[in-house]
């Protein structure tokens, strides 16, 4: 897959939030999203339909220490 991640982030940040890149480092960080995207891509297929809606607070209760 070939894409300009910097441009993608720039477009999204400006279009949806009205924020423009404040400096060159910000664009470098945006470009670094390629590894995050790869990580997310590797997780595809694991989200079960029944997981939604999911309450994290309920999970904390369900898994809590029995003898605190």
């Amino acid at each position: 897959m070939s894409m300009d991640i910097k441009a993608l982030v720039r477009e999204q940040a400006e279009a949806w939030s009205g924020v423009i890149p404040p400096n060159a480092v910000s664009e470098e960080l945006a470009a670094g999203f390629s590894s995050l995207m790869a990580g997310l891509s590797a997780l595809r297929g694991q989200l079960a339909f029944e997981d939604e809606p999911s309450s994290f607070e309920a999970a904390l209760q369900a898994t809590k220490e029995p003898n605190p």
Partner: protein, 478 residues
């Protein structure tokens, strides 16, 4: 050395619980503790830069008033001077959040945790240095000057609660509140050679505390010992009607469980992720720590943490997106008022799509359940090095200075801490050695949700057989 100086040095050498006990027995006073702390700050903070502001006059007035309180009316922390990361609101007092944007911010109300600490007789000396808006792991601050590690002034003290770790290590205060969204209590605890705890997500009220990430922010103490942390957690934990997200779980007497006995306790040692690419010196300290736990009766059990790749990936997404949301207005109006490492992070985080953020949140509960089913069915706690690498220097991690490789070094620090925030587990970091540069190494203990007592018990047992938590940074030994 005159007797007064010798006495002050002995006072600052005490742990928090020892200092509280000394006041309770009439062996010292709040004023004496405050003066000893202020003397240490005057002598050492020019080098460390742990304080953003100091209010000695109010502290001494408060201490004098506390000394007049009848013994029968005194609390668990009576007369003990503290200081907190400069993001805990106290009505009318400065709370800079380590930022230029809030340089003059004086909130109109007080954080619940501050009220609870004061109700037990503690008082604060000032506001501690921190990463700008609690958003870096290193201790850099472009607006108030970088905080320095008392163990080696060129080294990172860790962040974001940099001043909290440094002030406790330098013996300026007996304990300090920090906050932890991706490791911000445990990282400075590890790098500064002190003990710190992040409780279960929702364990401690966040009312009156500067937000960073609604889903992952935690309030907790840094102190010299696990026992000190247990004392403070028992004071600050528990439901707060002003923070509806705080848990209604009863708060146990954490100190009562600290008996040093680990017989029958199963300690998990991760087979995956947490020991990847660990520096050999860090690994040696970690393995020596395991032997101490075995000596106390613990059984070591190798465990595989399920879904750890998902945890590591999603963990960064949640806090980044929520941080960007909170700062969106200032990023539109005054992005130049942030440091480069922060406005660049906030900007980039706005490029993460909502559906990815929602996916990260949706999977959090199911993943926690599976981790509990797989890991905590086999062990009571699991341990890991708090940080995989040796302490880095401030220069090597300075993104704003343009140091080559700084971004990578910056991100490497929180590899082992950030996943724990996503899991929502309680986690204690305690010192377990010094590296060849003389800088502290730490380990972290994780327990089931609301199992803070077990994590503290393991750290306390380790500290009964070791002295790393008692050692002072060389330049700060009076």
């Amino acid at each position: 050395m005159n007797i007064a100086v010798k006495h002050a040095s002995a006072l600052t050498a005490l742990s928090l619980t020892e200092a509280a006990e000394a006041v309770a027995k009439g062996e010292t006073t709040a004023v004496e503790l405050a003066k000893a702390a202020l003397d240490a700050i005057v002598a050492g903070d020019e080098r460390v830069n742990a304080f953003i502001w100091l209010d000695a006059e109010t502290a001494l007035e408060t201490a004098a008033a506390l000394d007049k309180v009848p013994m029968a009316e005194r609390g668990k922390l009576h007369g003990v001077p503290l200081a907190h990361k400069d993001m805990y609101y106290k009505a009318g007092k400065l709370s800079t959040c380590g930022s230029k944007i809030r340089a003059e911010f004086r909130p109109g109300y007080t954080a619940t945790v501050i009220e609870r600490l004061e109700a037990q007789g503690s008082f604060a000396l000032g506001g501690l240095n921190m990463a700008e808006f609690a958003q870096n792991a290193t201790g850099h601050n472009q607006h108030y000057g970088h905080c320095h590690n008392p163990w080696g002034l060129d080294y990172c003290p860790g962040g974001s609660s940099s001043g909290s770790g440094a002030a406790v290590a330098a013996r300026f205060v007996y304990a300090a509140l920090g906050s932890d969204t991706g490791g911000s209590i445990r990282l400075p605890a590890s790098l500064c050679g002190v003990t710190g705890i992040k409780g279960t997500q929702t364990r401690v009220s966040r009312h009156g505390v500067m937000p960073l990430s609604f889903s992952a922010d935690n309030v907790g103490p840094l102190a010299r010992t696990a026992k000190d942390c247990a004392r403070i957690m028992a004071v600050i934990a528990g439901h707060d009607p002003k923070d509806p997200t705080s848990a209604k779980e009863p708060v146990p007497d954490y100190e009562a469980s600290l008996d040093g006995d680990l017989k029958g306790l199963k300690v998990g040692v991760p087979k995956n992720y947490f020991l990847d690419d660990v520096d050999p010196e860090v690994m040696a300290a970690f393995e020596a720590m395991l032997e101490v736990l075995k000596g106390r009766g613990a059984t070591l059990v190798p465990v595989t943490i399920p879904h750890i790749e998902a945890v590591a990936t999603y963990g960064g997404v949640v806090s980044r997106v929520e941080g960007a949301t909170i700062h969106a207005e200032w990023m539109r109006q005054r992005p130049q008022d942030y440091a480069v490492h922060l406005n660049s992070r906030l900007y980039a985080s706005m490029g993460i799509p909502a559906v990815v953020y929602a996916e990260a949140l949706a999977r959090r509960g199911p993943i926690l359940k599976e981790i509990a089913a797989v890991v905590f069915s086999q062990v009571d706690v699991f341990v890991a090095p708090t940080i995989r690498c040796k302490a880095p220097t401030l220069l090597s991690t300075d993104v704003d200075a343009g140091t080559p490789g700084a971004l990578d070094a910056f991100n490497r620090l929180s590899l082992n801490t950030r996943p724990i925030n996503y899991m929502g587990l309680p986690s204690v970091s305690a010192p377990c050695g010094l590296d060849s540069n003389g800088m502290p190494i730490g380990f972290q203990v994780q327990a089931r949700p609301f199992g803070e007592g077990k994590a503290l018990k393991v750290a306390d047992a380790f500290q009964r057989d070791t002295s790393y938590h008692r050692e002072r940074p060389p330049g700060f030994a009076v």
